[in-house]
Symmetry: C2
Amino acid sequence: MNFTLRQLQYFNAVAEQRNFGRAAQVCNVSQPALSVQIKALEETLGGSLFERQARDILLTPLGRDVLDYARQVLGAADRLDQFAKDHSGGHRSLSIGIIPTIAPYLLPGVLAGLRSSDVSLRVQIREARTDRLLAMLRAGEIDAGVVALPSGSNELFELPLFEDRFLLAGSHARLDGMDSDPDALRPVDLQTAQLMLLDDGHCLTDQALEVCGQDRSSGLINMGASSLATLSRLVAEGFGLTLMPELAAQSEAHAVPGLKLLRFTSPQPARTVGLVRRLSTGGEDWFDGLAEVIRRVGNDIVSATRT
Amino acid sequence: MNFTLRQLQYFNAVAEQRNFGRAAQVCNVSQPALSVQIKALEETLGGSLFERQARDILLTPLGRDVLDYARQVLGAADRLDQFAKDHSGGHRSLSIGIIPTIAPYLLPGVLAGLRSSDVSLRVQIREARTDRLLAMLRAGEIDAGVVALPSGSNELFELPLFEDRFLLAGSHARLDGMDSDPDALRPVDLQTAQLMLLDDGHCLTDQALEVCGQDRSSGLINMGASSLATLSRLVAEGFGLTLMPELAAQSEAHAVPGLKLLRFTSPQPARTVGLVRRLSTGGEDWFDGLAEVIRRVGNDIVSATRT
DNA sequence: GAAATTCATAACCCCTGATTATCACTAACC
DNA sequence: GGTTAGTGATAATCAGGGGTTATGAATTTC
């Protein structure tokens, strides 16, 4: 590839102007400079591109063919040029990872918030569990991740966004007698209860076990559900209890008849939802913009459960 | 447009290799040269394209966007490069003009000849009368023209290709008594005959008038037909006589029942078919190759009428 | 024939893009 | 923790690419 974009620009200008002098003016260079570059291009391409008359310049058949190709190159280069001029307004294509116990409840609001905000981001979403997301983040496959903190990796930058408290979820039959004294409901009181949890690998499962002071080998733990929606339906039917994050609470309560939710006494068990990125991803304005949208949407959702 | 193709090549190489050193090797330059160019490109585009880690290079969201555009530019440039490497085998796109009294009869053979010869030409055909073709030739809209010589322009290069003699065409009723003595049939003998001719502007019309010694204002001249095919059918039906060039003779005789053709005595009236180009179109090998194909096809057609 | 137009060529020079050498930083290894 | 290896950035230097002004050569116009 022994031609330059400048040469192709000059070539196109001569083809359009049919005059070396006028083409040089259009390109803001002297006529001899342009003449030398056209000649160099002709040598590179192995033949005359122009038929030179005293008062006119005509394309040769070869020149006509080359002009088609040259215009494709220049067109593509113009599009890059235009993108560079426009990109200060955003237009980034981001890859964002998000865990399954957050994605269904947070994403609709976040995507709507991104669309209506002045943060113009083209966001591609990858949903996976925390450990997979962290691997993708390290490999540069995604640019940031929405997870429960701490992520467990000291190589990442973590920005806490909002607190997502856990509620107790079960059937009316199981929970109706437990809400007469709300100040008495604590997670450790569930040590003898049968817990329905997500299958292993979801950090929400580890959080529930820790909060309830239970061990994964206990005969009271059932870990096999693959989503909070499934858990909601199981406990609503009377198959044990589970911990339901606020983010999911209203959505699942609306979708599952018979599901009852109780709030624990203070200090309420909770997870912190945050945005993580690589430490080397510094000084990028998209991160802060995205964080702000997620924080606002998340806080709106959890606040609605506290009224 | 302040970036160069070299910069885009380097950028693409780093994106693929994820390592400045290896990318520099791929591009056959030193690592610092490549580093400086990437940095310049980043300044031109207004942001970091890469996230630099100690042992890995990751694309930033901006870098990912730019890479899409850059690959379009490089792809188009590769296609031009490839064309330049391939074009020594021909692949010219030529624009050739040809007059209507030649085109229908000569073109099928010429295009077939071009396809089977080693002269690889992409030929675009423009059919128009001589004066229009000459204007297009002067303006560079076509590269050569197939016309009857002399073209009338001393600014063009004319290459005679073959002689196309005129035959007398009419109905059997009109011509059956005229072929008893073939040595007696001369064009001037048609001075009192009614001639059917093409409408004004076709040089064949002027040639016919001159050959027959008639004047366009004579009451015996009917000029209104738009093609030789039309003329053939009119005269076959008994509406006067016309001059039919050899090129068209066999084709029209096959197509038009009742059409009779007679050959004049020597010297037979004729036109010379030739190829014209601009004098400034010098040293192009396509011209000679094209001329040879046309000459061969034309001679084959007229020779077939002389057996 | 003189003047105007127009592309090509020559002399000159600045800037771009390359090289080698080295620095700064991080990660891996002992 | 110290040493070594890996890797991109920076500095000094230089060749040549690409630009300028001036001029030559050819054609056209008046």
